[in-house]
């Protein structure tokens, strides 16, 4: 390949300067990174935990139907390790990636706070989790220009409306549905996009 800048340093014209600036800025502006790993990881953890919770509390006498949620601790550790490793090895630090990391970290803290204090609100945690997940997916979708995530955000919001009016058991099914539409479907589309055309 021809080395762009190995030619003799010649005087730039204003037009050439402007064209060079535009082309370089265009190169560093990428649409989004492949974050499908995190959506798929959390999508599956929440789907299994919420369906398990519904099943165990409806059809069995098992004392701890919420046992599946302990997987979120493992998920948190995996996310932290993978996220930190990706940040370290990436060759370029984009402002978008930084905002993205902080958005989900903050939402994670908010979700943890709600669940940790769940007893104080009679374990009516799901509607709030749905709302926060909706904020995360809608804003991530807008930052990436990725419509399936933005659509997922609206689904979470609508489900939260319904969930406020349902008992805990049914809330679990709404959460499972929301996570399938809001995390898993966009996650798989994102993964396929990256595999097919690397965008």
């Amino acid at each position: 390949m021809r080395k762009l800048f190995e030619m003799e340093e010649k005087e730039l014209t204003p037009q050439e300067s402007m064209a060079l600036i535009q082309s370089m800025i265009g190169r560093s502006r990428k649409r989004y990174s492949d974050n499908s790993f995190f959506f798929l990881l959390w999508g599956w953890i929440v789907l299994v935990a919420s369906v398990g919770h519904y099943y165990l509390s409806t059809f069995t006498d098992f004392e701890y139907p919420f046992i599946g949620w302990s997987m979120t601790i493992v998920g948190g550790v995996i996310s932290g390790v993978v996220g930190a490793r990706r940040g370290k090895t990436s060759q370029v630090k984009n402002y978008t990636d930084k905002m993205y990391g902080w958005l989900w970290f903050s939402l994670g803290m908010a979700m943890f706070t709600i669940v940790f204090n769940g007893q104080l609100i009679n374990w009516n945690t799901v509607p709030f989790i749905l709302l926060l997940a909706g904020v995360g997916t809608a804003v991530s979708g807008a930052m990436m220009g990725f419509r399936p995530l933005q659509f997922g955000g609206f689904v979470f919001w609508a489900l939260a409306f319904v969930a406020f009016r349902q008992p805990e058991n049914y809330q679990m099914l709404l959460l499972a549905f929301g996570i399938a539409v809001g995390y898993l479907v966009p996650g798989y589309i994102m993964k396929a996009n990256f595999r097919n055309n690397g965008v």
């Binding site: 762009l4 800048f5 340093e9 730039l12 502006r29 370290k88």
Partner: protein
């Protein structure tokens, strides 16, 4: 104002390319800059040093395991100089 009064540090192909690249990201690796500007390591090193000496960019050298890792970041002085340069270029391009 003559065209030759433009900031000589920025009015050079590779240095302008580097600054344009760094202006829109938080930080970038030497290897990334080399790939994106399609330059050679030797030439790029020299130009980065010039930009760093002028205070337009900040260069951090670290080791990642045994591999050296050089990260570059544009400074506020660099952003201001780049802004001024772009405004001046726009003056020339005005019909």
């Amino acid at each position: 104002m003559g065209f030759n009064q433009l900031d000589p540090l920025l009015h050079s192909q590779l240095r302008l390319a580097v600054m344009s690249l760094l202006i829109s990201v938080e930080a970038a690796d030497f290897v990334y800059i080399k790939e994106q500007t399609e330059s050679t390591a030797g030439n790029l090193s020299v130009q980065l040093d010039k930009l760093s000496t002028a205070g337009y960019i900040e260069i951090t050298k670290q080791f990642e395991g045994k591999k050296p890792k050089t990260t570059c970041k544009v400074t506020q002085k660099g952003v201001d100089a780049f802004d001024t340069y772009v405004k001046e270029i726009q003056q020339y391009l005005k019909p």
